[in-house]
Symmetry: C2
Subunit: 377 residues, 2 copies
């Protein structure tokens, strides 16, 4: 059995600094995982990901199952070899994408029948099938198959939660590979009592790590924080906690303050492909004419390749010229911003000053959607 | 005055190995220059270009004049700083693009009035203006402003050639920067007597390097070779010779055999964005289903990042998934193929075996458009 222990190295309030052992290396937490949906973090190479000090990459089971197929990936040596990423990988269960991207044909106690968003072909995912696919892909961390409900629909949230609990148990039974850590997922929508019930039930099953699912799907920030404050105290201290699909700088800081260790989100790379550069204080829309002759990097204090070599004026030129390099350079920067934010938060935990760090962070923060004026930037 | 001397280090037949000194470093010839039309070699970073051992990059005066504007580039420290490329750069004169991309309003003895292909605005390029723009951009090698004619239209070829000669003289007069080498361009279409006349006239003006223009625009390979065989013997031994816009592997080998030192072409990066991988023997169309589970790199013997890390199966998956990384990885490979071909030709010159090298090369070559069958690949 592979060593998947998690050591909490320091704590400050609920915030933790830790190390999670995996077959492809140690993960230092808290951390942000870039998303490589189809077996590539869009527009960046594995070398560039190493350059920004990314440690964990997420890939999507739903997408890779449909194309190129998990059996093919297994034949080619697994996902690490396929995408040439030698550090840890996490795959989700496919559940979230089935419920958000595919056309559902039928959900029953056994699983979900759905149509591919690519070619309309019919497929069926069950807890057992999700685990089999994830074993073919071969990630270090794999996820239990869950049902994602409308977080405001109490009756559906309760039903989906109960199904998620039954499926979590079946995932544990189905799992065969000793070199993969299967994480359980807490569901329950925006309802604190359901979340409490779900956390207790999932923890009782006993997983090497726990995820909080069904957030960042429409609920308010206040609701997200309330749920975290209910759930994380119920999760074991000695296991990593993963807040799925959450990744704005605000959310990362708020999550760490509430005891979360792992995050992932498409936000930084998606923003990059839409010409927005993330900063510590907000965002820059680089198409803005005010940046046309701006000789500064996106951020003076950023240590990424993009900021070390290129001006805002050049990046704006690439965007207006529809050059692919714009997506690459902005993705490198946006990912580095989040990776470094987590590195800084980790240091703040060791220094016992997470609250001061957060206070400082929010004092200068103009909001996730807050676009800086070029003149003031 | 900057040292722009060219040393012929070895010769074999007409083929030469040399070194050309520039303010941004020595260029070892023969060489292939990747094209960075808008101030970026499409889909690759400067670091990746260094990785494939690219030495000289070409950028287009017409494009950069229209957007972002040469004055802006000058304000930001010149093109080397703007695009973060520290090695030598060559800019063309804008002439070829004006005649191929823009809508011509008027050509007269003084210059060309044309409409921008971007927004239809009216502009005028003259020899003096072309030099002024190129001095703002600040490349190491700049080109005389020339008129490109239909190579089969004798009357127009003769007229354009004469205008090109007069403009070459005016470019020499207009030039002010001592740290740029201005190359003259030989024109004359497919007509040997015009080419001879043009070469003699341009050489008489005295340039630190000479280009052969107006080829690779529709003439046959046989005609291209015939023109090279007329022109290169008329060019001084002690100056570099540049065959503009030519860059298939066949053309590179044939050009070197006929005494050419420098080449540039959009072919490798354009093919990459259209899913074709260049090989020593032909091309692979990676969308072909036969590559779906192919565990091999594009070429077993290639030392590029792409071939060292990724399989044909993975590259095909990226292409079918419309991932940006496909363009990046194929561009890296295709450029490396040509850079390395030139490195090998250079070594063959030193070894006195260029003809054997070429014989071997053509024996296995299936033609530029020759697609390998996946099974046989």
């Amino acid at each position: 059995m592979t060593d998947f222990t998690f050591e909490v190295q320091a704590k400050h309030g609920m915030a933790r600094a830790g190390v999670f052992h995996t077959p492809h290396g140690d993960l230092l937490t808290p951390l942000f995982a870039p998303v490589g949906t189809q077996g590539t973090v869009k527009a960046v190479t594995p070398d560039q990901l190493s350059g920004i000090e990314a440690s964990l990459i997420l890939a999507n089971t739903y997408h890779l199952y449909l194309r190129p197929g998990d059996a093919l990936v297994a034949d080619l040596g697994g996902l690490h070899a396929f995408m040439a990423w030698e550090r840890p990988i996490l795959t989700d269960s496919g559940g979230f994408q089935v419920f958000s991207l595919a056309k559902i044909r039928k959900v029953d106690e056994k699983g979900v029948t759905f149509q591919s968003h690519i070619d309309g072909s019919t497929h069926r995912l069950t807890p057992e099938k999700s685990i089999a696919i994830q074993e073919n892909l071969g990630a270090d961390i794999i996820m239990a198959f869950d049902e994602c409900a409308d977080p405001y629909d109490r009756a559906y949230s309760e039903l989906a939660m109960q199904r998620t609990h039954a499926w979590a148990d079946r995932c544990l039974q189905a799992k065969t590979r000793p070199d993969q850590a299967l994480f359980g997922i807490v569901q329950g929508g925006v309802f604190p009592d359901l979340r409490r019930q779900s956390a207790e039930r999932i923890v009782a099953l006993g997983f090497p790590g726990y995820a909080i699912g069904g957030l960042s799907v429409g609920e308010t920030k206040r609701e997200m924080h309330a749920i975290l404050e209910v759930v994380t105290p119920l999760l074991p201290e000695s296991k990593p906690r993963y807040l799925m699909g959450v990744g704005s700088p605000e959310d990362l800081v708020n999550g760490v303050l509430r005891g979360v260790d792992l995050f992932d989100c498409v936000l930084p790379t998606r923003l990059a492909r839409h010409h927005a550069a993330m900063t510590r204080t907000g965002r820059l829309n680089l198409t803005n004419a005010g940046f046309a002759s701006d000789p500064r990097p996106i951020e003076e204090t950023c240590d990424c390749y993009t900021c070390q070599r290129f001006t805002r004026a050049y990046l704006r030129h690439l965007i207006l010229s529809k050059e692919i390099l714009a997506s690459t350079l902005l993705s490198i920067h946006n990912l580095r911003i989040l990776v470094r934010l987590m590195q800084d938060l980790r240091q703040a935990v060791f220094a016992g000053r997470v609250e001061a760090f957060a206070e400082d962070f929010f004092a200068y923060r103009q909001g996730d959607a807050g676009l800086e004026e070029p003149a003031a930037a």
